[in-house]
């Protein structure tokens, strides 16, 4: 429960208000392995702690990467950190994406906005083919072409990965899709009985995507969501992130839709 001292190794501005930090542990060359979908508690000294998903490659054992949107006091403090600055880290916490379910199946990775960050480690893992997915498809909706996370990396991956990008608002340079992510999902040829879906993004977006996936024949237990709630202790003790009978920090943040449908559809929970 005591934060370990890390230092900022790299800071990259993804787009205005969203940045990626690469952090290394002081005095340690190797870090504990993490599972795609897990998160760390990042402590901006003097300000506070915030739960942030790991967004780098699980194979990279020397650095943890976190992509952060500057929104509250703690993330604003993290945004001010520069290379060499100290940061407190607890984790990794939570369960990850159930990567053992993908063998022989069509994997649909559906991301919205900065929800792409917790799915990126999953993409790294699935790209090495060891998990035996029959096909991997990424559907990614962003607000604007300038707000597509990891764009150059996605362009490099386009040869080996079936990627559908769409933006809510295009600009004069954008030659791709304009519209919401549910549209390409609706028209996609998906074998619902053989597919498994991993979603992360605003809850509204996930809600509409789930409706589409269900009409495509996916079962509720084959749709996995990464949830976000106000996590404090990250170990299921404080109760801040309680969601129905679950603690998002300990039982999640990844849940199958079938297991949380009652809570997911309950307003104001």
């Amino acid at each position: 429960m005591i934060p370990a001292l890390f230092r900022i190794d790299e800071r990259k501005e993804e787009f205005s208000g969203t940045f990626t930090l690469g952090i290394r542990r002081e005095g340690e060359s190797a870090l504990p392995r993490f599972k795609p979908g897990q998160f760390n508690m990042l402590y901006a000294f003097g300000t506070g702690e915030v739960a942030i998903s790991l967004s780098g490659s699980p194979a990279d054992t020397g650095v943890y990467q976190h992509t952060i949107r500057s929104q509250g006091l703690a993330t604003q403090a993290l945004a001010r950190l520069q290379k060499g600055d100290a940061i407190g880290v607890r984790g990794p916490f939570g369960c990850g994406w159930p990567i053992d379910t993908v063998a022989g199946r069509e994997v649909l990775i559906i991301a919205g906005g900065v929800g792409m960050a917790p799915l990126r480690p999953l993409l790294y893992s699935l790209r090495d083919k060891a998990h035996g997915a029959a096909r991997v498809r990424l559907f990614y909706g962003a607000r604007h072409p300038d707000e597509i996370l990891y764009r150059s990396e996605l362009e490099r991956w386009a040869d080996s990965l079936d990627i559908t990008l769409t933006v809510d608002q295009g600009d004069s340079t954008w030659r791709g899709r304009v519209g919401v992510i549910t549209q390409p999902l609706e028209t996609a040829d998906i074998n619902g009985g053989k597919a498994v879906a991993f979603l992360c993004g605003p809850e509204v977006m996930m809600r509409f995507c789930i409706q589409t996936l269900l009409t495509k024949g996916l079962s509720e237990s084959d749709i996995y969501l990464s949830m976000e709630r106000n996590m404090k202790c990250a170990t299921g003790l404080c109760g801040h992130c309680q969601w129905g009978p679950n603690f998002v920090c300990k039982d999640g943040p990844v849940f199958s839709y079938g297991s949380v449908r009652s809570w997911f559809n309950l307003r104001a929970l």
Binding site: G17, V114, R143, W174
Partner: protein
């Protein structure tokens, strides 16, 4: 080479439609190819057709003076667009521009409109199918309006 009726038969929009209706609609259709940059429809011009995209990307746009065209949505393979031919004053409300080479079936809405006046069963069938598309586009537009990926979230409503 597939006939127009075969092409329509294969499209989900026409799935389950009465054969005689489909044959009539096929008689109102013709294949067209548009080059990148071509305008398929122009705002405020007569809307006498609707389109089934076989291949390519179409941008639905609105021209804003002193700014240029704003793309509201793009449409793709197998999408249907154009319902202004169904309702008075039968004028396009937006531009439709081919982003790349577009292969489309152009259907004569004016001819179908007249047929639907006399064959109400066919009219009802077509309206039902178009209503579904209109609903899907409206839902998508509402989601766009919510701007869900924005960093600026509205404050919580204390009444909720």
């Amino acid at each position: 080479m597939k006939s127009m009726a075969d092409l329509l038969h294969e499209h989900p929009f026409f799935k389950g439609m009465d054969e005689s209706h489909l044959d009539f609609i096929a008689g109102c259709g013709e294949n067209h190819i548009y080059n990148a940059g071509d305008y398929i429809a122009r705002e405020n011009e007569p809307a006498d057709h609707f389109y089934l995209i076989r291949a390519g990307q179409v941008a639905v746009e609105c021209f804003v003076p002193n700014y240029g065209a704003i793309c509201l949505q793009t449409l793709h393979d197998n999408d249907i667009f154009g319902w202004s031919w169904l309702f008075p004053p039968y004028m396009w409300t937006f531009d439709a521009r081919a982003v790349d080479e577009v292969h489309a079936i152009r259907l004569d809405g004016k001819c179908l409109r007249e047929k639907c006046e006399t064959d109400t069963a066919m009219g009802a069938e077509l309206l039902k199918r178009f209503a579904r598309i209109v609903t899907q586009r409206l839902q998508a537009t509402r989601m766009q309006l919510m701007d869900i990926y924005s960093q600026q979230r509205p404050p919580l409503d204390p009444g909720q």
